[in-house]
Symmetry: C3
Subunit: 263 residues, 3 copies
C-alpha cells in the first residue's frame, strides 16, 4: 500500500467527521471516546438492547468490543451488529481475551459469524478464533507470531473479513493480500486500552468510507505514528497516554505518510 | 447576575463540600468524580435499584445523566429522582442524546416530569425535550441556537424548571429571566464528557444550597473560566483535560468573578 | 517490618508480572488497570457471572471492589471470591462505602465471610464492618482513627484476615501484629480512586506470592512513596494523577526501601 493513501484516508476522515457507534468495555470507554474525538470522528456510546438497532443506522460505523462483557450487552452487540450488516454499515470487532473463557469464545464466534468488515485482535485472540490454542507463557514469541499470522489469513478466508493481528509488527490481511505496519512503541503495552483504541480508529476510517483493508492499515499506522511522537515527551505510561491523544489530534497527513512503515 | 455572586457561590461550595450523588454514564464517571473533587465537592457514584433511595437522602444533591443508559439504571434514576424530590434534595438532569432514540426520549421525558431543579443539555437535546426536531447536519447553526433558546424558555415554563442550553454561548433561563455565559474554549468540544462535567458542577452548586438559576450559571461560568485558563498551557485535548481539572482545583473566587462573561 | 522486604517484594512482583483479576467499579476501572500495568502486573477486568469462575483460576490474585455495585455484579463477586478461596488464589476486598446502605453492608459482610487475604478500607468502612457506627462529620478525627484501628484489629481477629485501614497514617494488622505506613500526600484525597488503587496494588503483591501482611504493607508503601514523588511536579490533582502513574512505573526498589516510613 502506498503511504500517500494514508494521508488521503486521514483527510477523508476529518472531512466526514463520522459518527462512530461504540459498544465497548467500561475500562476503555473514556479513552476510546477521546481517541475518536482526537482523530476527528464523533463518538457515541449506546449499549441498551432497547435502542441499539434504532441508533446504529444513524451511525457511519460500529465498533464492538467484548472487554467487560455482560449478558445484556452481548445481546445488544448481536442486535447492533446484525442490524448494521443489514443496513450496509461497516463494523469492526475486537474479541478481547476471546480464548480465556467459553463465554468469550462463544460470543466472539457468534459475532464473527455476522461478518464484521474488520476483525482486530492480538495473536492469542486471533489464534483462539481460528480454533487453535493461543499459547501460554513460555511459548516462543517468534513462533507464536508466525502461527498468529497464518491463523489471521485462515480466518480472513474462512469468514470473508479483513483480519488485523497486532503486535510489535501489525499484520493486516484479507486472506490474499498481506500488509504489515511497523510503527508503534513499547509504552503502548503499558497503557490499558491501546489495542481497543486501534480498533476504534479502524472504525473511524471505516466510517469515513474507506475499504476495510485500507481502514485497518490506516487505523494502525495512525496510532503507531502518534505513539512514536508521544514517546519522546513521555516520563512514563500516563504522560505517554496524554501525549498520545494530543498527537492523534495534531497529526497531519504528510507526517503520517512520511513516517508510516508499511510492508 | 452580578459576577460577585459567583465568588460567593464558590466560597459556599468549598465551605459545604457537599456530597453529590451521581447516577451517570460509564464514559464520564471518572472525569465527573474528579471534577467534583477538584472544585471541592464530595462525589459518590451509587446506581443500584436496591440502594439509591436509601443513599440519595444522605446527599446534598443528585446528578442524573442518561449517557450510557441501561434499563436497570433507568429504574434506579427514576427511584432516586422521585425520592430526592420528596425529600427536598435538589437534582439536575443531563438528557444525553435525548432525541436519538425512543428509549432516550421517553426516559428523559419521564425524568423531566419528576421536576429536576435544573435541566442542562445542548441545543439538540433541549429541542428534543421541547418536542421539536433537533435538526441534523446542514441546519444553520445560528438559527438552531435561536430555536434552542426559545425551546429552553418554553420547557422552563412548561415544566417549572431552570433550563441551561450550552454551546459557544450558554443560555440559562427559568422561563422569565435569561442569563448568558460567554466563557469556554473550542477544546471543550474535543474532550468527551465536558457537558457532563458542566452538569455535575451545577449539581455541586445546588448541593451547596444555591438557588437553581444561580447554581446553573455558577457551574457553567466555573467550567468556562477554568477552560480558558487551561487552554493556554495545552498541547492538545488530553493535556487540556488535565489542565482543566487542575484549574478547577486552583480557581479562586476573585478570578472567577473577574473573568466570567455574564449577560 | 524491615524496609528491605519492600524492595524484595517489588522485585518479586516485577519478575512474576502476575495476572490480577479485577471485579471493580466503573469509576476506577481504567485507573486500576493502568496502575497495575505501571507497577508491573497484568490486569484483567472480567465480571460476568457466566465466566468469573472459569477466569479466576487462571489469575494469580483477585481484587473485589464494591464501588458501583449492581446485583449481577454482586453475584459474580461472590462466585469469584468463593472459587478463588477453593483454589487457593489470594484475594483482596475493598468494601467501598460499606456503611452507607444496607445493600453495601450486606454485600461486604457476605464477601468478608468468604475470607479474603486482605481487607482494605478507610476508617468508616472498617468501623461499619466491625458493626460500629462509622461516624459522620463533626466526629473528632483523632478519636475516629483510634476507633478505626481498634476495629481493624477486632475484624482481623474475628475473620482471620489481614486488615488495612488507610488514612493519613495507614495501619495494617493481622490481629496481633500492627504495622504503620506513614507515606502519602494530601493530593491523594483530591483524586478519585486512589484508595481503590491501593487495594489493586495489594492484589498485585498478593499475586506475586507475598504473604498478606507483607503484601498489604508493600502496596500501601508503594503508592505512598510514588505519591510523594508525584506531588513535587504536580500543578493540581489531575497532573498529580498522571505523575503518580508515571512514578509507579519508574519506582525502583532501593528508593522504595529508603523512603518508606514503616512503624
Amino acid at each position: 500500500m502506498n503511504p500517500t493513501e494514508l494521508s488521503t484516508a486521514l483527510a477523508m476522515l476529518r472531512d466526514a467527521a463520522p459518527l462512530v457507534h461504540n459498544i465497548t468495555n467500561q475500562v476503555v470507554a473514556n479513552l476510546t471516546a477521546n481517541a475518536l474525538l482526537a482523530i476527528g470522528a464523533s463518538p457515541a456510546m449506546v449499549q441498551a438492547e432497547e435502542e441499539v438497532e434504532e441508533f446504529v443506522v444513524q451511525a457511519a460505523a460500529l465498533v464492538v468490543n467484548i472487554g467487560t462483557l455482560l449478558a445484556p450487552q452481548r445481546r445488544a452487540m448481536h442486535l447492533a451488529a446484525r442490524h448494521a450488516g443489514q443496513a450496509g454499515i461497516p463494523w469492526v470487532l475486537d474479541p478481547v481475551a476471546a480464548g480465556a473463557t467459553a463465554f468469550r469464545r462463544e460470543t466472539a464466534q457468534d459475532l464473527l459469524a455476522l461478518r464484521p468488515a474488520v476483525l482486530r485482535g492480538n495473536g492469542s485472540e486471533i489464534l483462539a478464533l481460528a480454533g487453535e490454542d493461543g499459547g501460554g507463557k513460555g511459548v516462543d514469541s517468534g513462533a507464536a507470531t508466525g502461527r498468529a499470522v497464518a491463523a489471521a489469513r485462515a480466518v480472513a478466508r474462512r469468514e470473508g473479513v479483513v483480519v488485523a493481528v497486532t503486535g510489535a509488527i501489525d499484520h493486516v490481511t484479507d486472506g490474499t493480500r498481506m500488509v504489515t505496519v511497523g510503527n508503534g512503541h513499547p509504552l503502548l503495552t503499558r497503557v490499558t486500552g491501546t489495542g481497543c483504541t486501534a480498533t476504534a480508529l479502524i472504525g473511524a476510517f471505516l466510517g469515513a468510507g474507506l475499504p476495510p483493508l485500507t481502514a485497518a492499515v490506516a487505523g494502525l499506522a495512525t496510532l503507531g505514528v502518534a505513539a512514536e511522537q508521544a514517546a519522546g515527551a513521555a516520563a512514563g505510561p500516563a504522560s505517554f497516554q496524554v501525549a498520545l491523544l494530543d498527537r492523534l489530534h495534531g497529526l497531519d497527513g504528510a507526517t503520517l505518510a512520511a513516517r508510516a512503515r508499511l510492508g
